[in-house]
Amino acid sequence: MLFRRGDLPLDRDPTGRFLPWLVALMVYLAALALVCAMVMNKMVERWDTGLSGSITVQIPPKQGDPTEAGAAADASLDAVIEILLATPGVISAEVLDPDEIVRLLEPWLGAGASYGDLPLPELIAVGIDRSAAPDFEELSRRLAQAAPGTILDDHQSWLGQLLDLARTIELVAALVVILVGASAATMVVFATRMGLAIHGRVIELLHLIGAQDSYVAREFEMHSLKLALRGGVFGLALAVITVLLVERLFERMEAALLPDLSLVPGEWALLALLPLVVAGIAMLTARLTVLGTLGRMP
C-alpha cells in the first residue's frame, strides 16, 4: 500500500466538492434527453408500422330526415366500398363498428359517450398492398364523385409531421448530450488548471525528482475519472428514478395516446454508458490539459 496514496493531494481541492454535483446534473439532463429521444423514436416506429399499410376513408354524416339520411348514408357506403374493393392494390375495406369508433374517441370524449348522440362519420379502414399501392389522389377523386364529401386519409401528412417532431426531439437530445460532454470537458479544464496552480510546488518537486509530464497527468486524469464517475453514476440513478416514476404515473392514467416509457435492455445499456462516456471525456480532458500546460513550461 506504499504507492496507494496520490502524490498530489487533489482530494482536498475545492473542485473535488463541486465537480461531481455538476457532472451529476449534466448526466441527469442528458439521460432524460436520451430517454425522450428513445421513447419518441419507438412511438413513431409503432405508428409508422401500424399506419403505413392502411388508409382511412371517412364518409360524412347525412343531414335532414333521419330515415332518408340513413338510406342515403347506406347507399354512399355501399358505393364507396364497391369502388374500394374494385381498386387494384386494395386488400380489404372494413367499416368500423360504432363501438370501435366510440372507443377511439374515448380519450377525447371520455367513457360512456353514445354513438347515437353525435353526428359521427362512417369510417372505413382500408388495407393496402404496400408493394402495389393505388394512386391515392385518383382514388380520392373517384370516391368524392360517388359520395360527395368523402375524405381519404393516407396518414402521410400526419405521419410526416410526427416524424419531423421525432427528428427534432432526437436532434435536441443529441445536442443536449453534446453540450453535456462539452460542459464536462470545460469544467474539467478549469478544475485541472486550478489544480495545477494550487499544487505548482509539488508538481515542480515531482519534476525535479524525475517525473515525466505523463506521470503528473496520470494523477489528474485518475482524479477526474473518479469525480466524474461518482457524479455520473449519481446523476444516472436520479434519471432512472425519474423515468420509473413518470412511467408509473402514465400507467395510472391509462391514456391511449401517452407514450410507452418502458425501455428495452439495449436502451438501458445505452443509458448506463452515459456516465462512463462522461468519465472518459473528463479523464482525457484532464490528461490533455496537464500535458498542454506543462508542455508550455520551460
Binding site: 506504499l2 496514496r5 502524490d7 525535479l208 525528482i209 524525475g210 517525473a211 515525466q212 509530464d213 508542455g295
Partner: protein, 249 residues
C-alpha cells in the same frame, strides 16, 4: 563502435559535471552567477562554500536542472543541458539526488511514502521497495517514525527524511543544499559520514554549506563561490576568492 582510448584517458576526459563560463540571471535581473567554470569528476566529493547570497543555491539549481544557464555551457553526464529535450531532462534528473534547503517534503505523505517517492516516480514496483525504504529510514535514525507525517516531525527529522529521499535511488550525483542546517553538530557529522559512505559507493557529492567548522573537519576539496564566481580549493575554506573566472577542481 569500440572506443580506442585507453581507460585512463577516458576517465580524465569525461566529467560528470562541467561548467564553462556559465552565467545565470533570473529574467531581466542582474547576474546571479558570472563566468562560472569548473568540473566534477565521477566519484568526487566537494563542499560548495561561500557567503550567504554568493549563489550557492543557484549553482545547485543549475546542476539539478531546475533552471538553464543564461549563457555559457553546462554539461551533465556528458550532455549539454541546453539541448536536452523535456523527456531527457526527466530521465537525467533521476540520476541526481537533491536535498533541498527547505526539505520540500509532501505533508500529506508519510515519511515512508516521501522517501519512496523517487522510486515510485522511477516506475519501481511497490513490493520491491518497501523494505529498502524502511531500512534507509532506520539508517538515518527514523525507524520509529516511518508512518509519521512531516508536519508532526521536528526540523531535524524532516531534514533526515529529505536526505533519505535524495539517496534512496542511489543517484550518480547527490546535491545537498545546507543539509546540516537544522541539526546539531553531532548529527551533522553523522550525516556527513552518511554522505561519505554513499560517496564510497561511487556517488559524486556536492554539499553546499556555510558551516566552515564542519567543512574543516573533513578533507574534501572546496568549491568556493564569491560574488558570482567559483574557485576550487583542495581543502577547508582558507579565505575569500575574488569574483570572476573560476577554475577546475
Amino acid at each position: 563502435m569500440p572506443c580506442l582510448l585507453p581507460p585512463i584517458i577516458k576517465r580524465i576526459s569525461w566529467a560528470l559535471v562541467r561548467f564553462e563560463d556559465v552565467v545565470l540571471r533570473y529574467g531581466a535581473g542582474p547576474e546571479v552567477l558570472r563566468n562560472v567554470s569548473f568540473h566534477l569528476e565521477p566519484g568526487s566529493f566537494h563542499f560548495l562554500a561561500g557567503p550567504s547570497g554568493a549563489g550557492k543555491s543557484s549553482l545547485l539549481k543549475l546542476m539539478y536542472l531546475a533552471c538553464r544557464p543564461s549563457s555559457g555551457r553546462a554539461m551533465l553526464f556528458g550532455r549539454d543541458v541546453a539541448t536536452l529535450a523535456r523527456r531527457e531532462t526527466a530521465l537525467l534528473r533521476r540520476r541526481i539526488g537533491v536535498v533541498f534547503q527547505d526539505f520540500r517534503l509532501l505533508d500529506h505523505l508519510t515519511a515512508l511514502e516521501n522517501v519512496a517517492l523517487p522510486l515510485k516516480v522511477g516506475g519501481q514496483r511497490e513490493n520491491k521497495v518497501h523494505q529498502h525504504v524502511a531500512e534507509l529510514l532506520a539508517w538515518v535514525g527514523l525507524a520509529d517514525q516511518v508512518h509519521a507525517f512531516p508536519p508532526t516531525l521536528s526540523g531535524g527529522q524532516q531534514q533526515r527524511i529529505a536526505i533519505a529521499r535524495a539517496v534512496v535511488g542511489r543517484p550518480s550525483l547527490l546535491l545537498a543544499d545546507e543539509p546540516t542546517g537544522n541539526v546539531d553538530d553531532r548529527i551533522a557529522v553523522r550525516l556527513l559520514y552518511l554522505f561519505e559512505e554513499l560517496n564510497k559507493l561511487g556517488t559524486t557529492i556536492v554539499i553546499a554549506t556555510h558551516n566552515e567548522s564542519l567543512v574543516s573537519r573533513f578533507s574534501h576539496p572546496v568549491l568556493r563561490l564569491t560574488e558570482g564566481g567559483v574557485m576550487a580549493g583542495p581543502g577547508p575554506v582558507a579565505g575569500a576568492a575574488r569574483a570572476g573566472k573560476g577554475s577546475a577542481a
